[in-house]
Symmetry: C2
Subunit: 97 residues, 2 copies
């Protein structure tokens, strides 16, 4: 868990939006074929108004920081919050900061 990498990942409005939307997928995304417990399909995040390649880069940044997990299902990749890492990060930041 690289604290600095996580802070850099969080210091961007679009990535923060993505993390927030993932808290309640059913409120922010149209119903999808697979249940939201599997995660949210990457292309759904283009709703933030950014291009496919940019969204993919943001998801990559969040993933490298450990803030989300991804799972390939057929031709789709589903993203979920990594609650464990997020909780650990918050605890550590609260201690260290």
């Amino acid at each position: 868990m690289d604290k600095d990498e996580i802070l850099k990942a969080l210091a961007n409005p679009a990535r923060m939006d993505i993390l927030n939307w993932l808290k309640n997928p059913e409120e922010h995304f149209p119903t999808q074929e697979h249940p939201f417990e599997m995660g949210v399909c990457a292309s759904q995040f283009e709703r933030c108004g950014l291009s496919q390649s940019t969204v993919s880069a943001h998801l990559g940044t969040l993933h490298r920081a450990g803030l989300v997990t991804s799972k390939r299902v057929g031709q789709w990749i589903f993203y979920k919050r990594n609650e464990e890492t997020i909780a650990t990060f918050l605890q550590q930041l609260t201690q260290d900061l």
Copy 2:
């Protein structure tokens, strides 16, 4: 309290170091004429190996984000952590993230 501005301010190792050193000034800085309760003199932070102007810019960033307060005493400016803002930020981040 601008959460995004604070996150950007924290997403930098030098600024994080400064905030951490300010938690225990007596452990990180040589004894100074004025008590550490007043804060730490700006020039002390050059111990991070950066130039005077760069350190000044970092302190400015932390100050604009509300993470530190400053107080002029004679020709010196003393910096202290703003524990209130830091605590509020941590609470809000724990809620929002």
